[in-house]
Symmetry: C2
Subunit: 413 residues, 2 copies
């Protein structure tokens, strides 16, 4: 009781190789969520060392860690450092698709040999948990096909071209201005980045070694505004699609622009997002989508991997938060009223809404012979107050049928 | 060497409580995938006992199993049997949302006490792996909001109403005819089924006990064709939405119809599908979608849980299949050609395509002064043959710019 160390959770040391956008976000997120992580795992995570171009020593960072997070990117020195970490018996979490697309088999075998974990959720589709779903949820399934939009830069450019009719060069410039494309966007726009990610997805979906050089890829540089307008005319979407597909004779993995029919789950994925559709006879088709890049998003995938490496995931959830359950919250509403068509009706309704604090965003009135239909949208208001107003309105003599109130979920971003 | 038992994998016994649509699919899928499961886990799965209304004895099924799959549905006797299985030290995999929505806390605690796993991916959104993603990928995250379309029956009915203008009763009848709604659809259309699923999702997202009675729910029975046409006019979608949301004061969990703005990830989910969107500051927003019901789909979720209960998921993938990597596959194509506008041009192009075995699905020709633009779609053909044709066409004297070929992904179902 007098020894605080007896009750403090043990320390779990995380060495960070790289401190760019993703590395800094991992650093922040581990700090912000350390209490929660200790609750789940019984271990207090700390960033025990950081290697950047200008500071830190790689041996010290590896030696001082229980787990090494590699977020440097590129093949070298990342490859060398990951090998060293595994040989030193450290778990590794990496966001490096190139490294795995080229050296995956060797590194996975090395990790097994040294009985450490090598996790890589962040290497494909940022915060979208497609790696875990393939490795765990669907590990027993017979997968037929994986389709992916796995490069957010190109998806943003194509969405821009489709939405504005802009030519490729102009949409690329806009992507660069907004930070969705790098100054040198070559590996994004020529399909190579997507190819590395598809190699990893194909590897997991088909239990077959697939390296970057097995993937044929084509980019989006040659697409024109004209192709886009043709797609629009036919109700098709033009996307950069990665495909990994099982045939009688074997496996095909490729990346190229493709027109998608309107109902395809990837057809509606616009902007700098990623999405992956997995098909098998048993599951039919499931789709995972979300931000494919971004510091916090990628760091969130790294964090999930760190926690899984710390302790095996539990099958039963613990109660740790115990939040109060609320009965009454704010919502925006649509109100649908049939009223007698006579003067003063709208004024009375508006007065009742106003007294309950409801503010009208829009209203449409349509005549229906002697009656009229009033459809209005009300800004977010505590539901109990809105329903109180609806009860009062329903009792008015000029109301011709029970008022209907339906919630509206509005855009937040 | 002479003893086959020395090399045969050990047996893993699965007891099946219930043999309806889902139970029969689990039976089939375990049989079909037993080789793969043995490869991953080192154990050969067998269905060691089956309990139905007319055959089997529950004690025998439980005693003779290493893991019990509960796919009976309903509260009793499922509750009693699951408790017995856990007390007997057996892992349990269940697809029963009602059971967990009412008795979840007690059963999870009992499973921890007896050091067995209690897995339930199939209880929410069928084959869509939202439980695992919440329990593992996002376990360390601070989730702000979960939105879900978690009842396929109501989503089908609303999609029908939106697409055809049919009134509610007619769309419901159509859903019943197609097998998407039961003869007594009460618990689907009144929102109760969705409420039980949202209780489970809220429980996992917010680490707070949430039972079915904490969830306020409203159904779709009162919605009219008129509400749908209003939604259509404004570019909104009307869906039955489950929401679990964190506020300063606590947690709100509710199910009700809601209008969604056009860009919302759930707005485009049509037909008998499920989808769940999870929001946090770190991940922004990820969406998982797919079939929310169906025997094989639900059985696939059960299978993923069975395998995870057999052995902890590996972080590194093994090579078990080693498929050949193919260089050349069939694709449908769009071809875009600028040609001199003179007689015989289309005939020559068609001849070259025909010689390579390419069959033209559609063609549009537009005049451009002295030139014309030919846009055609070609039925699936081996890519090497199509590209050979494109090379030949590109060399024709009347071609005015390099031909462009873009793949087309066509509807398969």
């Amino acid at each position: 009781m007098s020894d605080p160390a007896a009750t403090d959770p043990a320390i779990f040391r995380i060495g960070l190789l790289g401190h760019g956008t993703v590395g800094a976000s991992v650093d922040d997120l581990v700090g912000a969520r350390s209490g929660r992580i200790a609750e789940i795992t019984g271990f207090q995570p700390v960033i025990s060392g950081i290697l950047t171009r200008s500071r830190g020593n790689v041996d010290d960072v590896i030696d001082g860690a229980d787990l090494v997070v590699e977020v440097m990117g590129g093949l070298e020195p990342a490859y060398d450092y990951v090998v060293r970490a595994i040989r030193a018996g450290k778990h590794v979490v990496t966001a490096n698709k190139q490294l795995l697309g080229v050296h995956g088999e060797e590194l996975w075998a090395l990790a097994r040999e040294h009985a450490v974990q090598l996790r890589f959720e962040a290497a494909v589709a940022g915060g979208v948990p497609v790696i875990r779903v393939l490795q765990e949820s669907l590990v027993g399934d017979h997968i037929d096909r994986v389709h992916g939009i796995v490069n957010g830069t190109t998806n943003f450019i194509l969405s821009q071209m489709a939405a504005t009719g802009a030519p490729y060069a102009q949409a690329l410039a806009e992507a660069q201005r907004l930070g969705y494309a790098e100054a040198d966007p070559s590996d994004d726009v020529n399909g190579k980045d997507a190819a590395a990610k598809m190699a990893i997805l194909a590897r997991l979906a088909f239990n077959t070694p697939v390296s970057l050089e097995d993937v044929r890829y084509e980019g989006i540089e040659h697409l024109t505004a004209d192709d886009m307008s043709y797609a629009d005319e036919l109700g098709l979407s033009l996307k950069l699609i990665g495909t990994a597909e099982r045939f009688e004779a074997g496996l095909s993995v490729r990346v190229h622009p493709a027109f998608l029919y309107a109902g395809h789950p990837l057809a509606a994925i616009d902007g700098p997002f990623n999405a992956v559709t997995i098909e098998s006879q048993a599951i039919t088709e499931i789709t995972l989508s979300g931000p494919g890049a971004g510091g916090p998003q990628t760091a969130s995938a790294v964090l999930g991997d760190i926690i899984s490496a710390m302790i095996p995931p539990a099958s039963t959830p613990e109660v740790t938060d115990n939040l109060a359950i609320l009965d009454d919250v704010e919502s925006a509403f649509y109100l649908h009223l049939e009223v007698a068509d006579r003067p003063g009706v709208l004024a009375q309704i508006a007065e009742i809404l106003g007294l309950q604090g409801a503010s009208i965003k829009s209203v449409v009135q349509k005549g229906l012979g002697d009656n009229a239909r009033l459809v209005m949208v009300v800004h977010p208001i505590l539901e109990s107050r809105l329903f109180a107003a609806v009860d009062l309105i329903g009792a008015l003599t000029f109301i011709r049928s029970a008022p209907r109130a339906i919630r509206v979920i509005e855009e937040q971003f």
